[in-house]
């Protein structure tokens, strides 16, 4: 069982689970495309915490760190492309509300 005064794997996993659920809540409820992007970043961060925590507590293997770096790189690429798309959407629709951008040809 987990105790409060011995920081174990479960502490990190629970933090990551809370972070994941908050990110999921943002992605589900927000209409602003930039806000949805923030939710995705939270989800990616929670996955990263899991990877590093497992690497530290269970496998003692550097692979978890390497995977986390790949996730960070993909998050950076995703943020750049997503923001370019969002700015284009804003130029075409004058809004970034994902409910109102429902045409392919703006």
């Amino acid at each position: 069982m987990m105790s409060l005064f011995e920081i174990s794997l479960q502490h990190y996993l629970i933090i990551a689970a809370v972070l994941f659920c908050l990110g999921l809540y943002i992605v589900l409820t927000r209409k602003n495309a930039v806000a949805i992007l923030m939710g995705v970043e939270l989800i990616l961060n929670s996955a990263n915490i899991n990877l590093v925590a497992f690497s530290h507590y269970l496998t003692n293997n550097i692979s978890g760190h390497v995977f986390a770096i790949f996730v960070i790189v993909l998050a950076a690429a995703e943020a750049a492309v997503a923001l370019a798309i969002i700015i284009n959407i804003y130029q075409n629709f004058k809004t970034v509300d994902v409910d109102k951008t429902d045409e392919l040809k703006g």
Partner: protein, 182 residues
């Protein structure tokens, strides 16, 4: 338990509360700019957790890439997609009564699994990983570099090509249109 352990635990819980509290602000703030700045604190807190997990290189990379890069991009996105005159950068939640319980159920399920699982039990699958790339004491930067240039060379090259493609794609998408825009 001596004083240094108490301080260690205290700092851990401060970082945990920082991560979760600022993530709550990101999720529930009505103003998207507040959300963006709370995301800054969340990412810093995650970097702190990496330090607790003895991932020094990842903590530095987290601060450099997330806080220095991605967050600035997101702030640019927030600023560029609102009218200057529109002071109220509102960011309302849609159907929170539907998403809230759903997310709470998922969270309860996850925490139930995390608490119930016997993490210290036998780990047969550890044999699949093998004994190479064990974390040695000391800084992890050199070990990560050797892993990337050794066992993970192919994923590294694929990611570098993907970064190039994303760079070109973002530059192509965000370019000014010139005449075709009119």
């Amino acid at each position: 338990m001596n004083i240094s352990e108490i301080i260690y635990h205290l700092i851990f819980y401060v970082f945990a509360m920082l991560v979760i509290g600022s993530a709550l602000v990101v999720a529930f703030s009505r103003n998207i700019l507040y959300s963006a700045f709370a995301l800054l604190l969340t990412l810093f807190g995650v970097a702190g957790l990496y330090v607790f997990l003895q991932a020094d290189f990842l903590a530095a990379a987290q601060v450099l890439i997330y806080v220095g890069g991605i967050l600035v991009l997101i702030l640019f996105g927030v600023m560029l997609t609102h009218q200057i005159s529109n002071v109220n950068l509102s960011n309302p939640a849609v159907k929170p009564w539907l998403a809230g319980p759903l997310v709470l159920i998922i969270l309860a399920g996850l925490i139930w699994i995390i608490v119930k699982t016997d993490w210290s039990g036998p780990k047969i699958w550890l044999d699949l990983i093998g004994s190479e790339l064990k974390i040695l004491p000391g800084p992890t930067t050199q070990q990560i570099g050797q892993a990337i240039m050794g066992k993970y060379l192919l994923p590294f090259e694929v990611v570098s090509v993907l970064l190039l493609a994303a760079l070109l794609g973002a530059a192509y998408l965000a370019r000014s249109r010139g005449k075709s825009n009119q």
